[in-house]
């Protein structure tokens, strides 16, 4: 992914968003005035960007009404992010060593590949019903883990395999042990690929957490917020929550890209 940089790029980025919002506003208003009708789609029921913005501002923080209180979007973001980061860290701790082992050792590859290939094709959402039954708590972190771990493993394997064999041979010739080769040659070489795996994985994990929060019960989380707002017919808040999910996912993606560029001066 290429980040549009420079003033010109930024202006084009902002303009595209403004044009989209204007188009969205116009289409909904025209639909509400019966100027056009698309069969099977209730376009008129979609809140306008203005309504969504007002709802976003109004539901940002905790609201207390009598004995009841509802968490603000900021709390939901925090809870969801926390789950993604926890699941991501566990996936990183497990995924990287597994990926290095499978990528470096033929025996481990033959041993683990069939299992990895079968399990990685089960989407994180397919694990939700099972995790409801097997986890008393932390089921949503497990769903994130499933989403993140396989991109990390696969990208680590790829990174290890694409290590220049001449570098390994040179290290071996100079008397380096196998563990030294892994530490000093393979890991640095595979690191850009590992980070790519983490970035892709966190993207999948972020999408999975929102789905998981709709099903795995917790009083706080963006998925739960969206579902609750839908139940109450508060569609502006619901759409505001959806937009927040998109924005956070985008920020996460760019953050890792920037980190990659900042700390990894080699690789892709």
């Amino acid at each position: 992914m290429k980040i549009q940089t420079g003033k010109k790029g930024l202006i084009i980025n902002l303009l595209s968003l403004i044009v989209f919002a204007l188009l969205w506003q116009l289409l909904v208003i025209l639909a509400r005035k019966d100027s056009f009708n698309i069969p099977f789609i209730r376009l008129r029921d979609i809140p306008t960007p203005v309504e969504t913005w007002i709802a976003l501002a109004g539901s940002m923080f905790i609201q207390i009404h009598g004995p009841g209180f509802t968490y603000g979007i900021i709390n939901h973001v925090y809870a969801s992010l926390q789950r993604v980061i926890e699941g991501g860290i566990i996936a990183f701790i497990i995924g990287v060593p597994v990926g290095i082992g499978v990528g470096y050792s033929k025996l481990l590859r033959n041993l683990f590949n069939p299992l990895i290939e079968i399990v990685r094709n089960m989407p994180p959402m397919a694990w939700i019903p099972l995790s409801i039954f097997i986890f008393v708590s932390g089921g949503s972190i497990f769903i994130v883990f499933i989403g993140v771990v396989f991109p990390i493993i696969l990208n680590t394997v790829q990174g290890v395999k694409s290590t220049d064999s001449r570098l390994i041979d040179a290290a071996r010739t100079l008397g380096a042990s196998e563990s030294m080769i892994v530490k000093k040659v393979i890991i640095p070489s595979a690191f850009p690929s590992i980070m790519t795996g983490l970035r892709i994985g966190l993207g999948v994990g972020w999408m999975a957490i929102v789905a998981a929060e709709m099903v795995i019960r917790s009083p706080v989380g963006l998925g739960y917020f969206i579902w609750n707002m839908g139940d109450l017919g508060r569609y502006s808040e619901m759409v505001a929550g959806m937009i927040v999910i998109g924005v956070i996912g985008y920020i996460m993606n760019i953050s890792i890209l920037l980190l990659q560029r900042r700390f990894i001066k080699w690789g892709d």
């Binding site: 009404h65 900021i74 809870a79 139940d231 017919g233 953050s255």
Partner: protein
């Protein structure tokens, strides 16, 4: 590039810091209401994952007869004679159907006949008691006759509408800020009573009362009509619909019931209201709270597309707060998770009312 990095850093930091700060503002030790299905409530109470739940029958009765928990507070103790499920019709269907008034009169009559049958058959010495238990087991998705008996005892089946109850409910909804206030202002209703009266009509029940001793086939519509009916899954409150359907009352009156697309629904607040909006449901039974809330919150007032009308009651009371056996006071639920069927349901409002009485806070 450097600027964008700084901006990103500030945004991420702001999210974390504000999350932490806001977290501190949340009342300490609230009771956490978490939405779940009735089956999930029973299962999670059994495994100890939740400390209790508030739900409609038969779920409380099933949980209690399985020994997973105990009946703690009956909803009638929180609010005597509180309204619950009703029979409602979609206003679009009403307008485009020539004889909609005649159909609705007969649907109210079915409700009356079914409620009379149930109330008689509830008595254990009634010759119809065994049959009623069979209906209850089948409609409630149960296997244990003891649970069926317990759930029947908790529900007060009615056919009369409850305008006073609906008015009180609307006031409580306003107190708890569940209405979208922009939409409420657009609605043009002066107050809760004005709104309740616009929503509920007693004309059909009055007709039903006047004709209740007539032979049903004598009152049959000249041309049979097809009605797409929706109801909530395993909700014993809506047993009168099932009894009327199974005993052929609708058919005798010239009404062919077909179950609406996607029904029975898990959730009256969301799925059934969408069915009314999308014109896939003509008439249905659901809790009056979702009707009241969605008629405001999800309505396009230029079209009035979420307009529904209430023609008869289904039941009053009939929900229970069930808790784990070690809970002795509602205060014991502080800091724990309690299942509920979703925001905006009568169970939600009842739980808030009970918490208010005890000076407790509830997150949802």
């Amino acid at each position: 590039m450097k600027n964008s990095r700084k901006i990103l850093f500030v945004i991420i930091l702001a999210i974390f810091v504000s999350g932490c700060l806001e977290g501190k503002k949340a009342p300490s030790e609230p009771i956490n209401l978490v939405k779940m299905s009735g089956q999930e409530m029973i299962q999670r109470l059994g495994t100890g994952e939740i400390a209790g739940f508030i739900m409609w029958e038969p779920y409380p009765a099933i949980a209690v007869t399985k020994g997973y928990g105990k009946n703690f507070i009956f909803s009638g103790k929180i609010w005597t004679e509180h309204p619950c499920c009703v029979v409602a019709y979609d206003d679009d269907w009403y307008k485009k159907t020539n004889n909609s008034d005649e159909i609705l009169k007969r649907m109210a009559l079915v409700q009356l006949k079914s409620v009379e049958y149930i109330n008689n058959a509830k008595q254990s010495d009634s010759p119809d008691h065994g049959q009623l238990i069979n209906y209850t087991l089948k409609f409630g998705g149960m296997t244990d006759p003891a649970a069926a008996n317990m759930s029947l005892a908790d529900v007060e089946f009615v056919y009369n509408t409850n305008v006073a109850g609906a008015t009180t409910f609307i006031q409580r909804i306003q107190d708890f800020k569940i209405f979208d206030m922009t939409k409420w202002n657009q609605s043009g209703y002066k107050n809760a009573s004005d709104y309740a009266n616009s929503l509920i009509t007693n004309d059909y029940v009055e007709w039903a009362i006047n004709n209740k001793d007539e032979n049903l086939s004598k009152l049959s519509l000249k041309e049979p009509v097809n009605i797409r009916y929706a109801y909530l899954v395993n909700d014993i409150h809506e047993l009168p619909f099932y009894v009327g359907w199974q005993r052929g009352y609708y058919k005798d009156l010239g009404i062919n019931i077909s179950i609406a697309e996607g029904a029975p629904f898990q959730n009256g607040a969301f799925e059934m209201q969408n069915g009314f909006k999308a014109n896939t449901v003509d008439v249905g039974s659901l809790g009056i709270p979702p009707v009241i809330i969605h008629r405001i919150n999800s309505n396009d007032f230029s079209k009035d597309d979420a307009r529904v009308g209430v023609i008869a009651g289904m039941n009053n009371e009939g929900s229970v707060i069930v808790v784990a056996n070690n809970i002795t006071s509602i205060k014991d639920l502080q800091g724990k998770t309690v299942g509920f069927p979703g925001p905006g349901t009568i169970q939600h409002v009842l739980f808030l009312m009970e918490a208010e009485k005890e000076g407790l806070t509830v997150s949802y």
